[in-house]
Amino acid sequence: VRAGGLMRAIFAIYLVVIVAGLAAALTIGVIGH
């Protein structure tokens, strides 16, 4: 794996984790679960 490739992959993983967490919490809140 090229160094830049792994750097971009980790950046993407962090964004996915953050957005997934926010989306899950917002959904739970909005549907009143």
Partner: protein, 223 residues
């Protein structure tokens, strides 16, 4: 292995985050069920708990405060300085700095991001992208805290045969502000402590500290 070592800091914190979130789910579930039993109600499964508003509000109240902390720190360190702190710019360098100092437009280097040279909206977006994204995550997580906290609050109100409240009504409750301010105060103290303690204290080898032998009055020097 070399590639993993090059990214050890971000990977280590990702693993720590996932492990502690799992730990929070386990003990939060146990604590939730303890209260269920105390109220003569049925315990719930772990799977149900992790998609509950009770779990969501506990996670989001901490997320929002962390992202607010970094958003304010990024913003504050543009305009405010602290003499002697490695976290600060030199006194006199307050502000957004010149295009030359920031390697923008004609001052961009060969390896600079393309948007540093492009000018216009693209350069403005790149120039503020860290603050914009951290700030957006703060707003989204504080909103998620509000809507999930509202559900958890109303469920508790109904359990105690009390009136539920609207979402705007919840934003005026002591529950919402207690959850919010208890996190904000600790973040602000910790950030201020880093700024001030790093004037006189050192950690050999850490870029968060000045070099051990750097003078106490030296500002903006990383070890």
């Amino acid at each position: 292995m070399r590639a993993l070592r090059d990214h050890g800091l971000s990977l280590a914190f990702l693993v720590l985050f996932l492990a502690t979130l799992a730990g929070q789910a386990l003990v939060g579930h146990a604590d939730f069920n303890r209260l269920q039993v105390a109220h003569q109600q049925d315990p719930i499964s772990l799977g149900r708990y992790v998609v509950s508003s009770d779990f969501a509000v506990d996670v989001m109240e901490n997320w929002q405060s962390e992202y607010l902390q970094f958003t304010l720190y990024i913003l504050g360190t543009i305009w405010l300085v602290q003499r002697g702190s490695p976290e600060s710019k030199e006194p006199g360098q307050e502000g957004r700095e010149s295009d030359e100092e920031q390697q923008l437009g004609e001052h961009a280097g060969e390896d600079s991001p393309a948007w540093a040279r492009a000018g216009g909206l693209r350069t403005w977006l790149l120039s503020n992208s860290l603050l914009l994204v951290m700030g957006a995550i703060w707003i989204a997580s504080w909103t998620a805290q509000a809507v999930s906290g509202h559900n958890a609050y109303d469920a508790e109100q109904l359990d105690h045969a009390m009136e539920p409240v609207s979402l705007p009504g919840y934003l005026a409750t002591s529950d919402f502000w207690n959850r919010t301010l208890q996190n904000w105060q600790s973040e602000f103290l910790a950030v201020g402590s880093m700024v001030v303690l790093s004037i006189y204290l050192r950690q050999r080898g850490s870029p968060e500290s000045k070099p051990v032998g750097a003078p106490h009055h030296a500002t903006s020097v990383e070890g």
